[in-house]
């Protein structure tokens, strides 16, 4: 049996070149429109960028909130662009997606999003963005290849948003050896938080003095 190719995103590797967006906008099925985008986290303090592709949720929120039942998931787990005859352009999906992926094409009155290059992958090619990405921050390969080539990280496809846990078809590369941690807000509420170099302060603009830090 041929090992399944999967999609892996590693923001650690992203260099913010926008090749993925340019290439996406050159794809045969949606020329002129990119279905993915790059975001600067905060350019004033870092050159860190993050490529945002559809994560292809197992239970897609965008489809759940669609009043017209326009968003379909393929048998192999890809969440597709809204079906044009059904989409009413209400933007529910745009607002509801926890990853900020769907895009409303106002002039088309249609929600369009990444379908992991169905046209290309169905003919044995990689998705366009993962083919061109110069830093392999977007990577399409078998799990075995990722295991072999990515010594410092491991794939994760589970995300927590409040009480909601979302599992996705697309994997995010996270540091190897770390377990999933979720921040307890109380860590930032004490005047002198215990442990670590936590300097998060949600209550005032003043940085919290950290015990042990100079």
């Amino acid at each position: 049996m041929i090992a399944e190719m999967e999609f892996f995103v590693d923001p650690h590797r992203c260099i913010g070149c926008h090749a993925c967006e340019h290439a996406c906008a050159e794809c045969e099925t949606h020329k002129g429109q990119s279905m993915i985008h790059i975001e600067y986290v905060d350019r004033s303090t870092s050159v860190q960028t993050v490529p945002v592709v559809c994560m292809h949720c197992d239970s897609p929120t965008c489809a759940d909130v669609c009043p017209a039942d326009a968003i379909k998931r393929s048998a192999d787990g890809r969440v597709m662009t809204a079906r044009k005859p059904r989409c009413i352009g209400c933007s529910n999906c745009v607002l509801a997606c926890p990853f900020g992926v769907p895009k409303m094409m106002t002039e088309l009155e249609l929600m369009m999003k990444c379908d992991m290059c169905y046209d290309r992958t169905s003919t044995g090619r990689k998705p366009m963005c993962a083919t061109v990405c110069p830093s392999e921050a977007l990577f399409f390969a078998t799990r075995a290849e990722v295991e072999l080539r990515r010594g410092r990280s491991r794939p994760s496809n589970e995300f927590k948003f409040g009480d909601q846990t979302i599992t996705t078809k697309v994997n995010m590369m996270v540091p190897r050896g770390r377990t999933q941690t979720h921040l307890d807000v109380t860590a930032a509420m004490h005047e002198k938080p215990v442990g670590g170099l936590m300097a998060l302060n949600i209550l005032s603009n003043e940085p919290i003095p950290v015990e042990g830090a100079s």
Partner: protein, 754 residues
Amino acid sequence: MTIEAPTTSELLAKFGPLRAYQSGDRLDTSLDPDRLVKTHCCFCGQQCGIQLKVKGNSVIGFEPWTEFPFNKGMLCPKGIRRYLQNSHHDRLTSAHVRDQTRPDGFRAVPYPEAIGRVASEIQRIQSTYGNDAFGVLGGASMTTEKCYLLGKFARVCLKTRYIDYNGRLCMVSAGAANKKAFGIDRAGNPSSDIPLADVVWIGGANVAECAPITTSYIWQARENGARIINVDPRITPLARTCDLVLPIKPGRDAALYAGILHLMIENDWLDHDFIQNHTVGFDVVAASVKDWTPRKTAEVTGIAEKAIRQAAEWWGTAKTSYLMHARGMEQHSQGVMHVLGAINIVLASGRIGRPGCGYSTITGQGNGQGGREHGQKCDQLPGARDIENPEHRKHIAAIWGVREEELPHAGVDCYELLRKVETGEIRGLLCWSFNPFVSLPDNDFVRRMLEKLEFFVCIDFFLSETGRFADVVLPGSQHEEDEGTVCSTEGRVIKINKAVDPPGDAKQDWRILQDIAGALGRERGFTFDSPRAIFEELRRASAGGVADYSGITYEKIEDRQGIFWPCPATDREGQPVDHPGTPRLFEPGSWNPVAKGAGPFYFPDGKAHFNLASYAPPTEDVDDDYPVILTTGRTVNMFLSGNQTRRIGPLVDQYPEPLLELHPVLAQKHGIADTDWVTVESRRGAITVRCQVVTTIRPDVVFVPYHWSGAKSINRVTIAAQDPISKIPEYKVCAVRIRKAEEPEYAKRLESQQ
């Protein structure tokens, strides 16, 4: 006297730069291309493989070429969108002559008339003032065949010594230092050695933006456990996740490498066996770094002493390593010293010429490597031969069918060539695929020189800002309209394939040169019927030289996905051989035509040379009047002077205009906020651009990218100081002052790319 065509709306409407976007066939989702043409990107020196989609006589898109071994389908934005330069509104499809009576500045004329005018002006100038009164400026974005022919054209047809090229802005410090240390000017290793290294040292190279695909090799090294050290005054996208950032004060690289070597010696992190058996000159260099204590190094470089010690330890104790550098440490008046300093720490480590042990400079221009090997450099003849070496001259003279004494001697670098316009030694110029009015420092000086010319002819496919000064503009060909070879940053000779025909009267550039030669009545040696025929002569010309291409054929390149030179046609006994090429230089036991078996390096004794790499401050250091360091560089969406990329809409939109980067500490001092207009001023000139306040740059440095022209050209501000050996201009350091400004006049009148 030439006069610049003013930037009128009529000129912009006819010649641009205007932005091209996907439209028509390029937007039609139901359309299939007629064919896919395998070729390479027309931009940087990485020369990524790419397939162009062709419909009729137009390139309508691209498809990744995943089988090409260097980039395996990977591309940066420039490669993806490069096809939009084809069938472009601004494209020159006929010859033009300057016509001051017309609002657009130029009148289209029949091609033969333009050629006739060029020939008669060359004749007039040369018969009046001598052959050397006509100079030639070439470009390293052209195929090696064209570069070869241009060198031959200057020396055999025009008989002028004055030819040089825009690689002078780019590769020459590395080239000169490589020749001094190794006897050969080529990357030591293929990129595939990078992921095998324990430590990757990147000196003055914004790899992520200037050589994006190389990022994947460096990240793979990191995944394999390598430590990455990045020397740069800015935290570039690659530096962000490096193990160690050395935020050097621009222009202090020789000091850093002296400090590192000092620590290597102090801690005995040396390969004594290698130094003893394969190098010369170590003792003198070792003595020269005695004073470079970590403290002194820290004071001069502006890098924390702790970080210097850490870098030296990682470098010193590594089992394998790869050191690469680029313009960040090369474009200085001490550029060669900076590179020699870097090479010294490589040689002291003994880590070269083996798998995972590498050294290279990163080539900037598309054919930056091949374009300098075969003859448009002022002091070089084909095969990387020396124009002052009698044996070399004899070999080339025989190939060209001229007497050795007829061959001109060495000329001068391209900036000095312009200075010879000032003295009246040069009266006419042919400029080919070079945009010096944007890309050379001190633009105002360049303007004065261009205006002083009696006759100026440009060959290009878009009218560049420099072309606006031309008396005659000849329409050349785009990358996709001709075939030929280029040599990539790795030293891999690859094949450019033709996808479409030049439109209208536009001609493949080598034909234009031959037409001029014909009109001059000097067609002997300029009657090639194809790039292949030129390449066959180039093979013979390069045979026996250091850059030996004689064993390379078009078929071999295509069959084997490129061939690394040297690739001789015969073995050392002179018998024909199918040489596989040389991906990795300096391998133990390897043979080369200079050492002849004495050792792996390209000197008669086969040994590499340590060279004194003494530190001196930049030509123009900061003072009370100009207290800030200006450094310049590239952005990922643009290429060189922007003559191509400023016409490609989606690339322009990504980063439309130059932004001045400065640190919040410096910004606060001058009352400047993010996105404010800021004037940056030096003793040469000033420009006003918007700013970006970021903590990713040293507070004593401002950065402005150089791809824009006119009022947005940072090269109005930069200094024309040059390295005494390589003659590279000092783009990376000059002294400036900054102040908050009002919106400049151009902002309302011009589009961002204009």
